[in-house]
């Protein structure tokens, strides 16, 4: 972050920190996807499948879906069949409970569990091209479907944990997620819209990153921004926060692969 942006961020943070936290959740009918905060040019890029760079990742993911991997010599398609049929609505309900682990895992975690358990292959690295491609391909099959994550009653403790983390002030700037994304989403931070933090389009193609990135990466960016220690990829707290964000967006339409500025 350049010097002036850091100073501005601190100044804005100081103003926000001085405000009382409303702790008021966004009413269901006032929820807005990040798309509605974007310029018309970025929206056009997202809406045109031949201009949306996320679709390149989806194409890669489709190839990986059908490629045999690991000591078991099995492809995703060997168990799950045609991904465009079997994966409809799946990404919309993640993070979901893994019974063997006894805790929720996000979609990236699920893909890597499938690799180690069923393909006997090594897991993909965090934010690797392959992992993002497969999650983009799977996410694409839920485009337009309503988010259902968190419906499982067994997930209630994790949703509650995620909610607590969302409300908890942290980092040197002493900001909670809620201070920006519940209380000030209609304002700007430097030149950028704050947005409500609705995770409708992950993995997204982010123009700032010049690449695809997962929800975990986005959250870690926010946490670094408030000078907090970012949660590790796939850690229980990271997944709980992702799960709370998805349950907070329940019923909103999936947009994967979204484009974000």
């Amino acid at each position: 972050m350049s010097g002036w942006r850091a100073i501005l961020a601190v100044a804005v943070a100081a103003v926000i920190a001085a405000l009382p936290a409303h702790a008021a959740e966004i009413p269901t009918d006032a929820r807005r996807s990040g798309t509605t905060f974007m310029s018309s040019e970025t929206k056009a890029m997202q809406d045109d499948d031949s201009a949306n760079p996320g679709m390149l990742s989806v194409l890669d993911g489709e190839a990986l879906w059908n490629a045999k991997a690991g000591d078991a010599g099995k492809a995703c398609a060997d168990c799950h069949g045609d991904g465009s049929v079997s994966m409809t609505g799946v990404a919309a309900r993640y993070p979901a409970l893994d019974p063997a682990l006894g805790r929720p895992v996000d979609l990236e975690g699920r893909i890597n569990l499938c690799r180690t358990r069923h393909q006997q292959a090594s897991p993909f690295g965090n934010e690797s091209r392959e992992l993002l491609a497969l999650s983009a391909f799977i996410g694409r099959q839920s485009r337009g479907q309503p988010i259902t994550a968190g419906d499982d009653p067994a997930l209630a403790p994790s949703v509650a944990r995620g909610h607590d983390l969302f409300m908890q002030r942290q980092g040197q700037l002493d900001l909670a997620c809620a201070n920006c994304h519940d209380d000030n989403w209609d304002k700007h931070l430097a030149g950028s819209a704050i947005t409500q933090g609705q995770p409708t389009g992950y993995p997204v193609y982010r123009l700032e990153w010049q690449s695809m990135g997962s929800l975990s990466r986005r959250i870690r960016g926010c946490m670094t921004g408030v000078r907090a220690q970012a949660y590790d990829f796939g850690s229980p707290d990271m997944v709980a926060l992702e799960l709370y964000l998805m349950s907070r967006a329940k019923g909103m339409a999936m947009e994967t692969p979204a484009v974000r500025p």
Binding site: S50, A51, P53, L56, D60, Q210, S211
Partner: protein, 106 residues
Amino acid sequence: MASALVNVPAKAKRGAVIEIKTLMSHIMETGYRRTAAGELVPRDIITSLTCRFNGAEIFRADLFPAIAANPFLSFFTVATESGNFEFEWIGDNGFVATASAAISVE
């Protein structure tokens, strides 16, 4: 794994102006960035896109380091006859990728 998305109208009327859109998967590393250790990241970009229609070149673009990753280029042409568009991207480190698309002109 190079992948391209090419969007050409499948049909067009003779004499119509048509838009052709291309999206190519590439990191477009500028050659000006440094790693945390201070070492220069070597340049790795696409340097040209050529489009041929039925063998004749109709569009060519040179690309440079300031162009964003996954370059999207679109251009217009006039539909004269049915045929095949062939696209070729050439870049650093021997990068070559091709794609093609057919159009039927009535």
